[in-house]
Symmetry: D2
Subunit: 385 residues, 4 copies
């Protein structure tokens, strides 16, 4: 039983990473705050003391809960009566393992950005740490927080699409189409194998595409054949990946991710085709899900409309026609995390409709990256998953 | 100078209205919280004591700051050292005047939902109260918080569209296409003249359309000719309005709002045409602004992209392609309000780029409603504004 | 009985107007030819002999059937054994009456471009001529030839939309946003009251919008209130029109047409809302009709799909997903004309599904223009139709 | 020099295949007729005498020019003074070789539907026949007739996209998602290896996708890796294909074609990404080409607009905003064919802007099919092209 078993009110949250100039830390902070379920009270936003302090003060942390050493943070917070109950990890990938381990060991729940780790070895070690800990682990594959992605999954699960035959998924961007400027921190670490791990685009956004495809289709992967490229001269990680997919039962698929597709912003799109119907969802206009029964007209299922089921409606805040977006979807993952953490407090079982990306999903994501790299290295050889 | 002149940290906020079952109160709470600039600490969420209490506890208010009488709330909060600095008013329209007055008189800033009031008399009285008070008044015409609406305005202001000739604005919904169920609180008061005032659809959403058209085009209205209908049998307020518009300098326009347009969700769309270019923005996919120079191709200006200017970028949180939506736009109004309140603390002038709907905009909105009603009653006679 | 009662094969067609440099003549020629039902064999493509000859030779007419005087053409063709059976009139509006009369008097069917005439007086005279003649009169309000416009009408007629409440129709262009170059023949005559008649934009494209709204909705007009403008300095006819509409039974509507809406190409859009459903069709992507039942999701009805009925399918040539466009829709009017002409040959009744814009529709269109002009002149007074 | 060197007027055309119940024959007839450049005067529309006669009469052929034996037709037409100058071949694939050979040998130009042949052996034999003949050979890869596909190519050729990195092309349908009814002739032969050849979806629509990708990108293929499936039980040819592509110079691509993608109609889409810009075109709304310079906004290039160049404008018939569609694009191929045939008459060189799919393109298409089948059979082995 959690030492916070009797606690009411927002969950006290810490954050590691996300200092000034970082992108994803701010996203996590908004997501955590949006529904009022979390209260950010501590942070090691940078490993540099000065920057950690400046960053912490800027976002309103008490000076005594601003750290620059995450181990110290884990240590001290775990001993405070009002210590954090969960930590958000928003560092480059290579730190996910050590940071997560430090908090998991002390029973502090972890909300970790994706991919799980930069390498399979790290992933395995992190799994061991999580298995040994009495704490919840949530991976922020945030796109599964979109209500209509839940609706898509519910429709597949219900059999409305029939037997799934095809999964076409893509995630195209262009922000790395040229050599980034040196002061783009995000670009710097994402293109550095030491910080990012073995995957470039395939690790950063390919895993998102893979995760959402798996989440919605429910298909079990069998093997893949990948062709990875680094188009920008001197780049050490892939910036484009083409992947053929085979699933158990004979379904097939394609995954494309790119960070050099000139003109693409965040073009995540998932299409799933079954024997009875097909569906189509795009992140850039996420409040519409196209569903087409074979032989019938395409229907535009809008978020929170009467055409959506409970799985989508419980994650909506406002009637249809008022767009919810990226932050609300991300907040939905935090909302699921809050439910999981509260259930953990009391030992209650989590209701079946509560779902979030887990460590197992993270392991699968890293395995996906590794298989893509291996297949591409072997000139596209079909590689088991 | 404000008694909170030295205060740091989030602005302490109270709320009147927004109890269980209400829609817009929850929206304001998320908007206030999203960027961390406000802290909701007190509320008279309902005038019924039991419901006020249940509603307040549900959202985490301290029991001693849960009220059911807004005057008492204004009184007691104004005397607390940690009293609220601002109040959000999310009641039906007929209460905007008394509630706002109660807080304005005590120097508490007011963030009020639209329309300003249900009648012109109330609007005039509210203006008098605000003029007499040392407090900021913000009206939540939230659509002006969308970054690309700011971009649209900036482009008009810059002269990029040339001389404006035409403004086509519409806001179509269908949620009142049939007699609503009696337990739809929102529908109940919006269709009741005693609570909603003289305008139905024209008051609820017509004023939004009017406000955004005025905000972006910058045109000065001269006169309008309106045809208002109540299509649903027994309805006492308009549920559809067609309005022709004339602006100073010869520009013309059309405004359509409807709550009975079967299939429409929140179809707010603004098109502005000038001698040099036209633009087109739709709320349901708000991250794209279409701009077409005469003779050139339509360009899709996306939120936060390099094609946007400072006016839009300062209200964006995440790179383009990741959709921001309704809550972020609403939060932008709260963000502007926070800047205005902080400037008020210290007496600093507000930077010119900070802009929000004011009491004057609210007066204009009620005058617009009144003119529409008068014109329609006079069989569409052109009525001065 | 027609003198061509026994004739097989394509209908022999003549053309008046449509010489070199003209736009709409070429459109009629393609439309007439597309399905092989007509054979263009004679023409008075210009009133200037040289130009008439050059134009006629260019399109392959025999020299002996090239005329520059339409009366002579009517006379001589009516006496040839292989004379034309029908004539397409594609002149400026002011010639519609004399040309049509010349052919109608000789029993030659008339396929006339819209609007029917430039003035009400001409329209009345043309009606008299047509009433006196034993010939078919077809007006090329070509947009009613789109299969999905037929589908829309069929759905309204079937009651699927319930009782119609609202009709929103618009037709926006920008080709006259500036003073056109003098060698733009099309612009020259369309902006000249002597050639175009009393209506500018309202005559050229407003009548199209009006016609399609009437065709689909089936509503009977009662009155309108119009505000017409000429934005371009020195222009003698309207280039923009805003019109409020009232229909029998209480339905309301709005019509906007413009030739100065910067960025608009041929933005004809029709939306019809009933008590049970709404529909939305746009000419620029005419192969999709959006239909939304109240409370249900929008359905995308595609041309020739199983979701369309007979009225649409009989006018389709290719499976859905292969776009048919402007010429096919125009050809559908010619196709209906061919059926009507063939039925006239034998005296057979026309099957009820064959429908095309008639002289009565044309009269109604000119009456609509006249009412708009009158209402606008009277400062928007509601004017009966 | 052609025996028709002095001929004026439409080109006399014959047709083999395309009898009652066939789809593509009717398409060719409309395409040939639309611009008035061809006159269909002879046909062997079926190999069954009765059906050939009924089909021929129905479309207005003279009885003496209705054949059921294509060799006889070639023979007799080649001896008539008014014999056909060109023949359209719209039979199942297995007949392309013998039919084409019969006409080519007699100096009659061939306009042949795609793919060139069902097998590589047939393709080679056809090439030999064509090389030996004094006749033009045109393959109707009709999608290259869309003006905006020409515009796309022109922009790539001009260097506006920079160095091409990626080509993503897809063509998704669902008309074979289930076992077709036995009376669907089109489905029957397309799924029969004896008639269709070695490719199913990859032959029917994959070659279209391949052709348009090659046409626009100008890239030289190096190798592909394919995964072909037959999802419908008992189907002997592929109904879905996933293909990875490698081009000379390092560009990469993906091609997906499917006839079992529930909800897809004729979803041909091409995206090309270069170092400077990307473009996106979709057949289902072919009048818009999206072009996005890196770092700039997406521009919507519309057919015939001022933003298009000569390559697109010469193939447009009507101003932008009036949709041209499938038939017009197909007619553009016929238009190019007419220019080529006329140039052949006189021995004139073809102007460089006249372009159409040739026998070489057809050879390449069959080689593409063969490589896909070979690669898929070898479990996705990269196969040279």
């Amino acid at each position: 039983m959690s030492r916070f078993a009797d606690r009411q009110g927002p969950i006290r949250l810490g954050m590691v990473g996300g200092g000034q100039g970082a992108l994803i830390g701010g996203v996590h902070r908004i997501a955590a705050r949006l529904d009022g379920a979390f209260d950010l009270v501590a942070g090691a936003l940078s490993s540099t003391a000065d920057k950690a302090k400046a960053s912490g003060l800027e976002i309103g942390l008490s000076e005594d809960r601003i750290y620059h050493d995450f181990t110290e943070m884990a240590e001290r917070e775990s001993r405070r009566a009002d210590g954090i109950e969960a930590v958000a990890i928003v560092t480059p990938n290579h730190l996910h393992l050590p940071v997560a381990r430090a908090f998991l060991e002390r029973g502090i729940h972890v909300i970790c950005d994706k991919p799980l780790t930069g390498t399979m070895a790290d992933a395995t070690a992190l799994k061991a740490a999580a298995d040994a800990a009495d704490a919840v682990f949530i991976l922020t594959h945030n796109y599964t927080g979109y209500p209509l992605v839940r609706e898509a999954k519910a429709r597949v699960d219900s059999g409305a699409l029939g037997e799934i035959r095809l999964v076409q998924v893509e995630y195209a961007q262009d922000w790395l189409a040229e050599d980034p400027s040196p002061d783009n921190k995000q670009a710097a670490w994402r293109t550095d194998p030491a910080l990012s791990g073995i995957g470039g685009a395939i690790g950063d956004i390919g895993t998102h595409a893979w995760n959402i495809a798996r989440f919605v289709s429910g298909l079990q992967p069998e093997a893949l054949s990948a062709d990875l490229q680094s188009f920008v001269s001197g780049r050490r990680l892939d910036d484009n990946a083409h992947v053929l997919l085979r699933f158990a039962g004979g379904a097939r698929g394609m995954l494309w991710c790119s960070q050099v597709a000139a003109g693409a912003e965040n073009g995540l799109r998932l299409r799933v085709y079954g024997t009875k119907a097909g569906l189509d969802w795009q992140q850039e206009n996420p409040n519409v899900l196209k569903v087409t029964p074979l032989g019938g007209p395409t229907t535009l299922i809008t978020r929170a409309s009467k055409s959506t089921g409970e799985a989508a409606q419980r994650l909506s805040r406002i009637p249809p026609g008022h767009p919810e977006g990226f932050f609300e979807a991300f907040a939905n993952i935090y909302g699921e995390a809050a439910l999981a953490i509260r259930a953990h407090r009391t030992g209650d079982a989590l209701p079946p409709h509560v779902t979030f990306p887990t460590l197992a999903d993270g392991m699968e994501g890293v395995a996906f990256i590794a298989a893509c790299v291996a297949s591409s290295t072997a000139n596209g050889q079909w590689t088991a998953l």
